[in-house]
Symmetry: C2
Subunit: 342 residues, 2 copies
């Protein structure tokens, strides 16, 4: 124990809590067993970095992206003109592409049954929604607008009618889809939104580490990476998204207490799909509380413990859980994470 | 930010994490709005201290208590002689009267559906078990011994037969129940265990605070007490046990995701009792993870957030949740908490 006066020590303690997430390594802090080079090699082989282009983005024009951006923030897309895409998938600069609600209130205040997933990097996912029922961003974008407890538009025609009354939108659609002879279609609405969403790619410290920056991660984060790599998390959380590439059953070893939401089964009606969900990407997970498909878990340290118990039958020590949690925070978009700390 | 070298600062940071839970107040740390005297008055009127005698203990003799202690650790009380009361309700000196399992494996390895509650202070509760189906400690003690997925004894007679073969137990029962003419009854087994359990009373820093020690709680703990008193927790968590005196519905405002366990309804079959459980006592809550009747929540900070959301429809800020969590740790038995830190 330090011999400094308690008062000085405690002041320092408080000061140090307020440190941003930049690496801080104590002289006597436990180091991971693997070397940095070994950790990097293993990480790169199991994950890799977030690509700098999203599938399908080659065809996106600046005019489509700009129209998509307008539409993403357009409250006319909800029946009572209260909600836009951004109401639930908030891309405000200090947020993680979500509203941080357990489940989101729709235009008329009712909440859906599932947690709104982040729109950041979403185009890298195997499919859209927790159950993958939309193949891609275009198909996804068409859903919430017409969902009665989300944006609640009665039909696509009303969307087109509202947008068609705006001279500005008419011009934007003309620029974005010059071959459409000035006609606005629901498909174009979705295509433009998707084009904009394909620009929402994040950059984090873990990728800095993967690409060679030895100081990108703190010692605790490196320990967390090692624990993550060795306890079994990577069975599901792998690839550049660290997930989002397979469907897995929640409660594989120890059952999840929510037995009401049957996951992919509700789409496929196949027994094998009961309680299966798209494995969430862990990119930006530190920004997207609360957690799980039902948004029932508020803290990252808790969901780390719950997943280890449910999926791996493993009780993490506090050290292991804290280290993994520290590591997961290194997967947050650097700019957004910095804005959250301020 | 301090001007000390980063390396020294981080070493202090690590050192300060390892501090025991003794009060540490920073010079510039936010104080509660209420004065210490006001907090004490409000606390004393809503809670009060843990009594130093348990109801019914006046009749307990030292011989009964000693027999109860033996029986509490007696593995003969389980069919395959592997489990005692202490297997799930562990009173080892550094534990909180529980096994810290989500649900406890029984003699043959199967797990029950509910989290084993602490035996510490249990005799102060309105009734026993999560659903209150046993009126008192005597009735409770008879349950697990015969429960097929707990200690799994086929009938009380086998319990008496096993104990009756021991000369030592025969003498102990004779001393504890001199009027029984040397006969051992199942009721006496339960009475002795209950007599021992009535000695399991804890002492915590919060009671030191209530009885006049101004320095018993840290500033964070005082803030947590104030938050606890003002956000609505005391609607259910009141009285000396800070709970354990009423039955309440889990998911009062926002539903709990576990809809399989119907709580008191499973005993009463009354619609009003669906999802009702005995409100847990918060005494020693910091020692009794994991939490809730299904043991699904691993961390105290998480369950504080979940309860505020479910019962009060309130999202706590991180500061509020952290403060309440700090305060709840002041409800841990002083000796046991000290042993856990070591």
């Amino acid at each position: 124990m330090s011999k400094l006066p308690l008062r000085l020590l405690s002041t320092l303690f408080i000061a140090s809590i307020a440190l941003p997430s930049a690496p801080v390594a104590g002289a006597d802090e436990a180091k991971p067993t693997m070397s940095i080079a070994e950790l990097r090699e293993m990480a790169s082989s199991l994950f890799g970095t977030i690509p700098d282009k999203m599938p399908g983005s080659d065809q996106d024009t600046p005019a489509q992206i700009e129209l998509g951006r307008q539409l993403f923030f357009e409250t006319m897309l909800s029946e009572n003109k209260t909600q836009s895409c951004n109401t639930c998938h908030r891309i405000d600069e200090n947020l993680g592409g979500v509203d941080n609600e357990p489940t989101s209130p729709g235009a008329f205040g009712d909440r859906g049954g599932r947690n709104a997933p982040t729109v950041l990097n979403a185009g890298f996912h195997i499919a859209q929604f927790w159950d993958g029922r939309a193949a891609d961003l275009v198909e996804q974008a068409k859903g919430p607008i017409l969902n009665p407890i989300e944006m609640a538009m009665p039909n696509p025609e009303l969307v087109l009618e509202r947008l068609g009354k705006s001279e500005e939108y008419k011009k934007s659609f003309q620029r974005a889809f010059p071959d459409a002879d000035g006609k606005i279609s629901y498909d174009h609405v979705a295509q433009a939104i998707a084009a904009f969403e394909r620009t929402l790619i994040t950059e984090d410290r873990f990728d800095d580490f993967q690409t060679g920056d030895d100081s990108a991660l703190s010692t605790a984060e490196l320990r967390g990476l090692e624990t993550f790599l060795t306890v079994g998390c990577t069975a599901c959380h792998n690839g550049p998204m660290m997930g989002a590439n397979t469907y897995q059953k929640i409660g594989l070893v120890n059952p999840y207490v929510n037995t009401q939401d049957l996951g992919v089964y509700e789409v496929s009606k196949s027994e094998d799909d009961k309680f299966k969900f798209k494995v969430p990407s862990l990119r930006n997970i530190g920004l997207t509380a609360p957690y799980l498909h039902d948004g029932h878990v508020w803290t990252l340290g808790e969901v780390v413990r719950q997943m280890a118990w449910m999926q791996l039958g493993r009780r993490l020590t506090d050290q292991e859980a804290d280290d993994i949690t520290a590591f997961l925070h290194a997967l947050s978009d650097k700019e957004r994470a910095a804005k959250q700390v301020e």
